[in-house]
Amino acid sequence: MAHVKQQQHGGSFADFLRLIAGQATDFAVECVRVEGEEHPWPPALLLLDPALPPAAKRELRRRVGADGELAPNVPLLEKQSGPAEMDSLRCRVDRELDRVKKSRIPCGLLLIRFNGTAIERALPIIEETIGPDSRPALYDEWTLAVLQTGMNRRSLMAMAERLYQRCAARLTRNVRIACALGTARDLAGADEFIARTARELARTDDKQRRVFSAFAEEEQDHSCQVTAEERAQLFSFRAGRPQ
């Protein structure tokens, strides 16, 4: 029921716009965020047919107050090739976590860091391995983020290992991969989910391991299991033992 309440009351207008902007990346549209002065988030989005003549686009932007075509506060969302931006990935993660809660089919997030190797060189290997249904996003200068839908713990780890092997064989062994699993019981939002994966990426360095996973679900399962100590104390009154 917590999911229900969150669903009904948790989403803000900014979240809604973020969702629309994320979905827009799947289509051949230009998405303009109209910046507001009073709020830290865009108060509106303008979706444009990219085939419109430039003059028509300018006019439409002018009407919604986003007429500075090249102004930095009116960014166009990414093109349909190359790594996606993190904003776009965050939207997709948002949508995917929402779907996970409804369908109970988990998803996975991978952060892949190439220390000292240009992302552009790694991109073809990553794309080839993850398949056409997913699209890497640029997490930072050296790191790609990949959202994988319909993944369980085992398949996510297998994917991470496959990515490592291919990169190691064809590009560099200096690759670190972190994974996190999003499950229906997991109430984390997109930002927390991404942050959790990033923490695991940091742990790959600490522990000097090439793949590290954050399976909160596993930790939670264990934390609910009744332990031998708990049982022993539960029944202590029968034997007259002190509690």
Binding site: K102, Q220, E229
Partner: protein
């Protein structure tokens, strides 16, 4: 039934283990509360294997299944057992109802919230175990009555249920009812043991709501399909239920 529109007290009755006496306790507590002029709704929360209707000897034509699947008005699905005591029956032998989808859960919750304002108390008799419906009914409720017997299996399962509710849903308002005890002392010992473990390991302090003694009136009432509080109001178990009822109204 007239509009009431207050916030009722929603109490979820769970046990972890099956056969501990949840349904018997629920219908008798409802009978006791309604005898005190309270309006009580009992929801059969065992959505796939309901048996409140069996315990009360009801022949029901409509259940929560029609509410969820066909959008039937839950008010028209209520069965009045005695003045002020209403039951919302569930279906039996319908596995789909035991594992509702997310959308169905939302719909069911909305449907229930439309009618609960007419009652003073809503008692949800959940299924055994720690399945989805048990967890979300408990999350919905204001209070969890955890019913357990002195058997080690019952104590372990009750503790496991409370551990899951605390860990996953941050619930900490647990009231314990010890059923089928040989004496008051045994009930208090079981409670003390459970309280110590909950405080030590989960850092929560449960409340002691009462103990119900072993009583042949309970089994007889099950066979007669009537609340023992009604058929044998002077029985020891009935008096224990009345104590719990009075403590709820204090």
């Amino acid at each position: 039934m007239s509009e009431h529109n207050t916030k009722p007290q929603i109490i979820c009755i769970s046990s972890g283990k099956g056969g501990v006496g949840k349904t018997s306790f629920t219908i008798n507590l409802a009978a006791a509360l309604s005898g005190k002029k309270q309006k009580v709704l009992v929801i059969d929360g065992d959505l796939g294997l309901a048996n409140i209707d069996v315990m009360l000897g009801l022949s029901v034509n409509h259940t929560l299944r029609e509410v969820v699947e066909e959008g039937r008005d839950p008010l028209e699905t209520l069965v009045e057992i005695m003045p002020g005591f209403f039951v919302l029956p569930a279906s039996s032998g319908v596995p789909e109802m035991a594992s509702l989808s997310y959308e169905e859960q939302v719909f069911l919750q909305d449907s229930l919230e439309q009618i609960i304002g007419r009652f003073d108390f809503v008692l949800v008799d959940t299924a055994a175990g720690i399945g989805d419906s048990v967890l979300w009914f408990n999350e919905w409720a204001d209070t969890t009555f955890t019913i357990l017997s002195p058997d080690p299996t019952s104590m372990t399962d009750a503790y496991a249920l409370m551990k899951v509710l605390k860990t996953r849903y941050n619930k900490s308002n647990f009231q314990l009812i010890i059923n089928n005890v040989k004496s008051r002392k045994e009930g208090q010992e079981v409670f003390a043991s459970m309280k110590a473990v909950l405080e030590n390991f989960l850092h929560i302090t449960p409340d002691y709501r009462g103990a119900i003694p072993q009583d042949s009136a309970v089994a007889q009432a099950v066979r007669r399909q009537k609340p023992f509080l009604v058929s044998q109001p002077k029985a020891r178990a009935s008096l224990a239920i009345m104590e719990i009822c009075n403590s709820l109204l204090d």
